[in-house]
Subunit: 236 residues, 2 copies
């Protein structure tokens, strides 16, 4: 609850007293929690601000609107998570030296940053992961139109790596498979079933995370490496 932001605060404090905990961060933390629990439109700004002990107007002052606050919650978490994903992939690629990567390694590099975030409250914990999974299906343009943009880079990078590993799949076929993979992961992490496993062992048994990977990996691996579908012309 007490972040080490003394330097940053000291720089901006001039004549007014400022609280040690940034109002912006406090709003983001509480918004993340309540959005995850209730969804976007069922969450009121008053619920957020009252639980964060800040003024209602602070949300508009700092973020502009409720919708922009929602986006800010994601920006804070998704950027580092997807950076991890790209870093892990690049490490693998350097080791492979131009050769195709193992399918399992690619999938692990993609999944592990999300699972690590779900274990670490400083990265949003289960709240954020569930929110992330849910947002893929959330209605309203203002709420999920920005997600594809946040995922564009990481999606392209992984699609390229997968294209090397699965040369028999066409570009289009591969795009669909990547879409299915993200969907399966999102649904699994958004659902209560899998998350209850994580949540019940939040501070005790990281092997349970590994357990979910162990279930998910073979399924995704088998799905990705399946032979391509028949063309539509066969049906016509």
């Amino acid at each position: 609850m007490n972040p080490f932001r003394a330097n940053a605060v000291a720089e901006t404090v001039s004549q007014h007293m400022k609280p040690p905990v940034d109002t912006k961060d406090k709003i983001l933390d509480v918004a993340e929690e309540i959005f995850a629990e209730k969804g976007y439109s069922a969450t009121s700004m008053r619920t957020i601000t009252s639980r964060a002990n800040v003024n209602l107007a602070a949300v508009n002052y700092h973020f502009g609107s409720k919708a922009q606050l929602y986006q800010a919650v994601f920006q804070r978490r998704v950027a580092p998570m997807n950076k991890q994903r790209i870093d892990m992939l690049e490490t693998l690629e350097q080791k492979a030296n131009g050769n195709p990567l193992a399918l399992e390694d690619i999938l692990r590099a993609f999944i592990e940053p999300a699972l690590r975030a779900s274990l670490n409250p400083n990265q949003g914990g289960t709240n954020f992961i569930r929110l992330l999974g849910r947002t893929h299906a959330e209605p309203g343009p203002e709420v999920h139109d920005f997600l594809p943009l946040l995922y564009e880079k990481v999606k392209d990078r992984y699609r390229s790596a997968l294209a090397l590993t699965l040369p028999e799949l066409s570009q289009e076929e591969l795009s669909w498979r990547v879409h299915f993979v993200i969907g399966t992961i999102a649904f699994t992490l958004a659902g209560t079933d899998a998350l209850e496993m994580i949540e019940s062992c939040r501070y005790c048994d990281p092997a349970d995370i590994e357990g979910i990977i162990q279930r998910l990996l073979p399924f995704l691996q088998g799905g990705l490496s399946a032979p391509a579908a028949l063309t539509k012309s066969t049906i016509d």
Copy 2:
């Protein structure tokens, strides 16, 4: 807009005048459309009733509450759809005469009723299918707690059929796989991404759904038939 319900109306009309189009059905049709577009909590009862040209109080009169209206929208569609799924599976099983079914046949029997519903406006069309997919991740107990109950029977029946076809998978492993399959289908049908991937137009040809199935089937088939994960004891 003018359903042929003259008989049904004649039976129930006693002393009050009733319109030829049932108010209940009109509410259900409009509610299905708006819930699919906006989601549950962003949809107001006033929006529904005004677009349906009925009084605001009629929703509470006929359904009890907004949440019960939401459930009624599902009850009307899911029951026949899941009956189709079970009928198709039983037809396959009778032909097979106790032998394991082909994995693709099982998956098609599960997917096709949803596909058919999405093509037929009298079964809800794309509105309902998208709503159905989204509801799996919708927050709020009143909104998606009833879904597992509606799916319990069909899930058990298909799990049994899959157990015969995939005898190398343990019960627990199979439950996870079925969970993943439903998740992938739900995510794909709920997302606008999938439609956008096919065509940029907003009101795409619903027949494109068959194209999605062609992409989905190999992925699910490969995922389901993948070898089981290593046991946890290997990790310890």
